[in-house]
Symmetry: C2
Subunit: 340 residues, 2 copies
Amino acid sequence: MNLKQLALMLDLSQTTVSRALNGYPEVSEETRRRVADAAKRHGYRPNPSARRLATGKAGMIGYVMPAGGSVDIDPHFVEFLSGLGDYARAHELDLVLSPAEAGDEETTYRRVVANKQVDALYISAPRHADGRIVLAQQLGIPYIVHGRSEGLDFEYPFLDIDNEAAFHSATRLLLQLGHKRIALINGDETQTFAIFRERGVQRALAARELALPPSLVRSVAMTEENGYRATRSLLEQGEAPTAIVCSSLIMALGVVRAVRDLGLTIPRDLSLVAHDDVFPWLKPESFPVPLSTTRSSIRAAGQRIAERLAARISGLETGARGEIWPVDLVVRGSIGGARA
Amino acid sequence: MNLKQLALMLDLSQTTVSRALNGYPEVSEETRRRVADAAKRHGYRPNPSARRLATGKAGMIGYVMPAGGSVDIDPHFVEFLSGLGDYARAHELDLVLSPAEAGDEETTYRRVVANKQVDALYISAPRHADGRIVLAQQLGIPYIVHGRSEGLDFEYPFLDIDNEAAFHSATRLLLQLGHKRIALINGDETQTFAIFRERGVQRALAARELALPPSLVRSVAMTEENGYRATRSLLEQGEAPTAIVCSSLIMALGVVRAVRDLGLTIPRDLSLVAHDDVFPWLKPESFPVPLSTTRSSIRAAGQRIAERLAARISGLETGARGEIWPVDLVVRGSIGGARA
DNA sequence: GAAAGTTTCCAAAGCGCTTTGGCTGACAAT
DNA sequence: ATTGTCAGCCAAAGCGCTTTGGAAACTTTC
C-alpha cells in the first residue's frame, strides 16, 4: 500500500493525502480525518527510502563506532543503549552504528553525513579538542556530545556529569576522615572525563594544601586486571596511600582483590571510593565491603540524549546547550577514618 | 556530485556510468576504466537513499533490540558488537538498532522489513520455538540466529557454540575428580543456551548414573548478586554440592564472594568452573583463585556472523546452514579433588 | 455584483539511482 | 550484397515520496 494507491482509493491527489498525513494546514479538517482513517485502516506507512530521497531526512540517529582488532567497545555502551532504547522505542527512532577504523573516524563521519544516512550524531568519550566535534560542527549536522571536550574554540551541545565535583566531594570526604595520602586510579587520561576527575581530586587536596603526586595516580584502561595492578603498585611503594578513589566499579573489583592479596583490609587499612555508572549486573552493595560510590546512571543519560537528539532533529532544540548533571555521593562501608 | 553530472562530464549516459560502476558486462573495458577513474577523482559516491529506492536494498543489517524500563541489554552484546564491527568496518556495512517494546518485537520486525530498512537481520538470545525466527523466515528476509531454538518445524541458519558439549565436559572433569554432588548455576532458563547447558551437565552425570536434582540447579539472570544468592542457598542446604558449574564469569564473581562469606575455600571446599565469554575487562585468570572455564569468544562469533550475514545479503550463502563451534575447556586452579 | 481574498485541492516536477527495452555499427556468415 | 549476431551504448520509465505553482470553489468586501 503506497501513497498512490491510497490517494486513488480516497479519490484524492497524492499531494493532498501527503499533506493531510504530514499535518500541513491547507487541508480541511474533514478530509484530514478521512485520510487519517483510511491510512490507519489500511495500515499505510510511508516508505522511508522514498521519503528520505525526497526530503533528505533519515529518521535515524548515528553513532560512529570505533572498531578494529585491538579496539574494545566500552561495556558502558550497553547501558547507554538501554537508555537510548527506552526513549527511542516510543518514538520509532532507530540508531545506526557505523563501524570505523579507530583513529580514522573522519572518513566514516563524512560518508554518513554526505549520504544523509542519519539526521543527527551521537558522539561519545570525547578527548581534548576532539576532532569529531569539530567535524560534526563543520558538517552542520545536529549532534550531541556525551561528555565534554576542552580546547575547542566554539560552543557545542553536550550532556555530561559533573565528574570534577563528584571526585572533589569524594576526596573531600576522605580528607575529612583524616586521610592525607589519597591515590587516584583513573581511566585513560586522554579522555576528558579522566582529566576532570583528576582535577576534582586535586582541587579537594589543594584546599588542604595537599598535592596529588604522580606517584599516587594511575591512568589505565578500566579493567579488573588494571585495577589490581595499579593497586599493587600503589600499595607496595614507599609512601603507600591510605585511601583510593577509583574511576570504575570494574577496576574496583581489582582493587579489592589486590588489597586482599596483600593481607590488608578495607576500610581498616585502606578506604575506597569508586565511581558507579550503575550496571544492573554489578552493584556496589555486593562488594565484600559495600562500596562507597559517586553514582550516576549512564542509562538515564542515554534516555536524555535520545530525547535531546530527537529535539534537535525536529528543530525544537538549537544552539550549544550544555547540560551538566550532578553526581550522588553514596556512603557505604568501604571508607573509614585514617589510621593514626 | 551525482550520477547525472558524472555522466555529463564523461559524455556518457547515466545508464552506462551506472553499469560501469556496478560491474555489469555490457560495458567495454576502456569505458569502464574511464568511468572508474573519473568517479574516484571526483569522489563520486552513489546516494544510498536513491539506490535503496530503486533497488530495495539497504546496505545495512538490522537488530531489533528489546528495550523498555525494566529491560537490561545483555553486557555480552558489546562484545558481539566489537566483533561485528571488526568485519563490518572493512565492508562499509552498517548496523541499525531498532528498539522494540520487549515482548512485542513483532511490530518492529514487520516495520523494519516492510520499510526495507535493512537487508538482513541478526537474531540473538533465542528461546524455545522463538517467534522471531518464524517471523523472519516468513517475511523472507535473510537472517542469522545467534544461538539455537528448538521446537521449530523448519531449518534455519544459525551460529551457536556447543553449550551442551562444553558443560558436559566441564561436568565430566569434575566427576573424574571425584565430585558427586555437582550444582549448576545457570542463566535464564527460557533461553535455549541455558537448556543446552543443563542438558550437558545432566548427560555427564547420567553417564555415572547420577542425577541433577532441582535442588542443585539455579536459573537466574546473570548478575553478580544472583550468583551470590544462588551459591549461598546451594551451600547452606542439607546436601550441599562440592562443585559448581556456573554459566557466566559475572555470576562467578558472586559465587566466589559467597564461598568466602561462608568461610570456605576454593578449590578445597568447592570446585568451580564457569563459562567465559571472553570479556576484555574481566578475565578468569584474575579471580582470587584462577578460574577453570569453558571458553568461547563472543567477539569472534560477532565477526563470523557479520561475515555470514554479508554473504547471505549478496546471495553467496543460502539455505539453512547451521554452524556449531566447539568450546575450549581451560583448566586452572579453581578445581580440585572432592573431599572424601 | 464585480473584485479580492480564502480555502481546498491538484498536476507535475523533482529527489538520484537502477533497469528495461531498444538502437547502432562492426564484423562474420551466407 | 544481404542477413544475422553481438558488443556497446542510450533514452526513458520507474522506485514512492514531497513540494512548487497553480486553479477551482467559496467567502468576503465595497
